[in-house]
């Protein structure tokens, strides 16, 4: 049987225009051998979830530096549940205060990476925590 290639969607929900981090992460994932669907700026949670389903990704990585993470990230998780697609793992990064992280995890976000995290660490986390679905 052939091997699965890991597919990940990298997106920027909301009105946040900071895309340097997202682009760096997308490139790091490509260099790790993943197929990255990069959907660019200004996505609604609905668009992200629809795209993730059509692209059959294993996980969705969202970048938020604007401060709107507490609404946007839980909303994405909620929509995946509504679509019975909660097997698609949600994780994220950006300027997110440590105090907010436990709440995000309760909402379904599997991990949060804040500024200064090395891309190697992030790729290593994905390799361990995201197993392409059979």
């Amino acid at each position: 049987m052939s091997e699965r290639k890991l597919r990940v969607l990298v997106g920027k929900p909301g009105l946040d225009g900071h895309d340097r981090g997202a682009k760096i992460i997308a490139r790091a994932f490509r260099d790790a051998g993943f197929e990255v669907i990069y959907t660019g700026l200004h996505q609604t949670p609905e668009q992200i979830v629809a795209a993730a389903i059509q692209e059959d990704v294993d996980c969705v990585g969202l970048s938020i530096l604007s401060g709107a993470h507490n609404t946007l990230l839980p909303r994405v998780c909620e929509l995946f549940r509504e679509k019975q697609a909660e097997d698609i793992i949600v994780f994220g990064g950006g300027v997110i205060p440590d105090d907010d992280i436990p709440g995000l995890k309760t909402a379904g976000v599997k991990e949060v990476f804040t500024p200064g995290t090395s891309t190697e660490d992030i790729v290593a986390w994905v390799r361990v925590n995201v197993i392409p679905r059979a």
């Binding site: 260099d31 051998g33 993943f34 197929e35 990069y38 389903i53 059509q54 692209e55 059959d56 697609a85």
Partner: protein, 317 residues
């Protein structure tokens, strides 16, 4: 329920999953495709090709919107290159098409070339079949940004639009006949730029000189400004004109014959090779033959004949 049945019942996740199985080369996908096959053959397949950054994705987005206004369901297959160094890929065509993400009448799938040459992925044809079976009226394929030789699209699409941009300048002379021969419609996008008229004129002149110019269908050169939705209706009308030409002239018959012949031969070649290669690999003959060739104890011609004889019984020439 098997994937194929779920797809026919309208399950989007099942369709997305089968496309993945196809792309990842799962044997089970072939069984599902067999079930879907009787439900295919209805979609009109449009190819959009041209150099990197010409505006292909932006055009696909606008063409999709135009077909949605005509109440047609649209599937999109957007192909980007796999990095030969890492095997990874950044698939960014969707960026231009996000507004259709939530539209149930549109399904977008990004594919990586995964080492396949020719401007498409190996999986493209089968992924198009899945969209066809899903009931898409139109399937648009965006090739990777191509140079001159990646012209597989012409065998996959009913109508191929070649997208150019102004400012190719004298380089337009360098465009090989290949790309001129595959276009059923030529688009000079970014018509807001200086030189658009000149590029369009030069392109038209080159088409005039094309040795093929006596063919029944004369490709036109159209100008568009995809980012501002200009010239799109005209382009879609021209694409539709080509589609009716295919049907009225009977050219569709020739096209389908070429396409299916090729498809069948490629599959046959692939399967035959896999069979024979698998066979000699397992029974150790492969190693033996290579050693024999290296020592010059055996010639490759006899080696192939011996293997074929063993596998199929006395096949010679």
């Amino acid at each position: 329920m098997a994937l194929a049945e779920r797809i026919l019942a309208g399950d989007v996740r099942a369709a997305a999953r089968l496309m993945r199985d196809i792309d990842d080369g799962f044997k089970s996908a072939v069984e599902e495709l067999k079930v879907l096959y009787p439900h295919t053959g209805n979609a009109f397949i449009i190819g959009i090709t041209g150099p990197p950054g010409a505006g292909k994705s932006t055009l696909v987005d606008q063409i999709t919107a135009a077909y949605r206004r005509r109440s047609k369901r649209v599937g999109i297959v957007a192909i980007d290159p796999t990095s030969p160094f890492t095997g990874g890929a950044i698939l960014g065509d969707r960026i231009r098409m996000n507004r259709h993400a939530e539209d149930d009448g549109v399904f977008i799938r990004s594919l990586a070339t995964r080492g396949h040459l020719g401007g498409l992925s190996r999986s493209t044809g089968d992924v198009v079949n899945v969209m066809d079976a899903m009931g898409m009226d139109v399937v648009i394929i965006e090739t990777v940004g191509v140079g001159q030789d990646e012209i597989d699209i012409v065998r996959m699409a009913h109508t191929t639009a070649v997208v150019m941009v102004p400012g190719l300048g004298d380089d337009i002379q360098a465009i090989k006949a290949g790309i001129l021969e595959i276009g059923d419609v030529f688009v000079v996008n970014k018509a807001d730029r200086d030189d658009a008229d000149r590029t369009a004129r030069e392109l038209a002149a080159m088409l005039e000189m094309n040795p093929d110019k006596d063919r029944e269908w004369q490709p036109k050169v159209l100008k568009t400004e995809a980012s501002r939705n200009r010239g799109i209706e005209e382009l879609v009308n021209e694409i539709e004109a080509h589609r009716s030409y295919l049907h009225h002239s009977g050219a569709i018959r020739r096209l389908l014959e070429e396409k299916n012949t090729r498809l069948f031969l490629e599959l046959l070649k692939e399967r035959l090779f896999a069979e024979v290669y698998g066979h000699i690999h397992v029974n150790g003959k492969f190693r033996e033959i290579v050693d024999g060739l290296v020592n010059r104890k055996q010639d490759p011609y006899s080696a192939v004949e011996a293997i074929l004889a063993e596998k199929f019984g006395g096949v010679k020439n």
